[in-house]
């Protein structure tokens, strides 16, 4: 049974010595990492580096949600899997990699499609949620579930040579719906299966998601509440933009929310939670 710890043991002190040396982390920060539980939704291009760096850093308990099996064409970017794992469920494969990497991380795989009927139960036990998904419907679902459950949502996305990162529902900042009250028309949405993606672009964004989780968990605080990082891999340019604040009229996090339970996100978005449906190219 996984429980909170009052102090680090000698094995942990030795394993995480490079972080204990830093005044930004130190023994207290490392103990906070050990006692923080993180749920990563999506074990694809973003989730791959995120779960590995979170486990490596000493996050004590890590959940991984995915319902897809590993395919060979995933391996161009999803480095948590490998050729021996083709056909295995992605959440199981990611857990196997985490278990090899660190015995200090209690890792739980959910081989489940997260949807309105199960999302609250899946999310409730965790401190921080990472949105490493690949479709609009699941992004609204996760946002609403995190608002209802009161969890920060560290959100990343990538396509072709572009990446984006932000933290929703944290420290008084906006949620996803505050910024995007209406979903994009389905014909304007491009997924990685249709538009392609350079594998290391979600790699960079997934690493940055792990970093923001570590900063929140250790008490350093995130840099991306009410801010969005834009990455253009072609020019190597990173740009941070200031977003609007939390909206009093937001349908889920506003003063008089009209959404008080999870809704039907496939209907709301006009698109199902899959990266595989043929969609028109933007």
């Amino acid at each position: 049974e996984w429980t909170h710890k009052e102090s680090l043991d000698n094995d942990e002190i030795s394993r995480f010595s490079r972080q204990l040396l830093m005044r930004e982390i130190g023994v207290q920060g490392q103990l906070k990492l050990r006692n923080t539980t993180v749920l990563v939704v999506g074990a694809g291009g973003l989730g791959a580096p995120a779960v590995m760096y979170l486990a490596a850093a000493g996050i004590g308990r890590l959940g991984i949600v995915d319902y897809d099996p590993v395919e060979a064409s995933n391996l161009q970017r999803q480095i948590v899997h490998d050729e021996t794992r083709v056909g295995m469920m992605k959440a199981e494969s990611a857990k196997a990699t985490v278990n090899r990497l660190s015995s200090f991380c209690d890792c739980i795989a959910y081989n489940t499609l997260i949807e309105s009927s199960n999302a609250m139960d899946i999310i409730r036990p965790w401190d921080i949620v990472v949105d490493a998904t690949d479709n609009v419907a699941t992004r609204y679902l996760l946002n609403d579930a995190c608002v209802l459950a009161g969890k920060p949502l560290v959100s990343g996305s990538a396509l072709r040579m572009d990446g984006q990162l932000t933290v929703y529902n944290h420290a008084g900042g906006p949620c996803y719906r505050c910024i995007f009250p209406a979903p994009p028309p389905p014909e304007t949405v491009t997924n990685c299966s249709d538009g392609g993606v350079l594998g290391v672009v979600p790699g960079i964004i997934g690493c940055l998601q792990a970093l923001e989780v570590i900063k929140i968990a250790s008490g350093l605080g995130t840099s991306f509440s009410q801010k969005m990082l834009l990455f253009d891999a072609t020019s190597g340019a990173f740009r941070t933009i200031k977003l609007r604040g939390q909206s009093p009229t937001c349908a889920i996090c506003g003063k008089n929310p009209t959404i008080t339970d999870l809704i039907d996100y496939v209907q709301f978005c006009g698109a199902a939670p899959t990266d595989k449906t043929p969609a028109q190219t933007l």
């Binding site: 992004r139 990343g156 996305s157 995007f180 994009p184 949405v189």
Partner: protein, 101 residues
């Protein structure tokens, strides 16, 4: 001379605009300084710059959902959105939000 506006496109928006990530435009005299707004700029961009179907850029008189607009590096919601009065040398950025992973 009309107003000069710097347009930038990111996150795939550039694919709607001849694949150009930056474009500086001089607006025609119908854009009266101190009066013309973003509400005037959007249809002008649609009619003069857009290389793809209009519904991928606009819905009604505003941008379609899923596009973030920045005025001089701030979310346009902080600047009055469509009512924002254009100033010479403004930079307007259109960002298509991404959903892939």
């Amino acid at each position: 001379m009309g107003l000069t506006i710097h347009l930038q496109f990111s996150g795939g928006m550039e694919l709607l605009f001849n694949n150009e990530k930056e474009k500086t435009v001089t607006l025609p005299d119908t854009f009266t300084p101190a009066l013309a707004t973003l509400k005037d700029l959007l249809p002008w961009m649609r009619d003069n710059l857009l290389s793809e179907r209009a519904e991928l850029f606009m819905q009604g008189d505003t941008v379609r959902p899923g596009i973030l607009v920045l005025i001089n590096d701030a979310d346009w919601e902080l600047e009055g959105e469509l009512e924002y009065v254009l100033k010479d040398d403004d930079t307007i950025v259109f960002i298509s939000t991404l959903h892939g992973g």
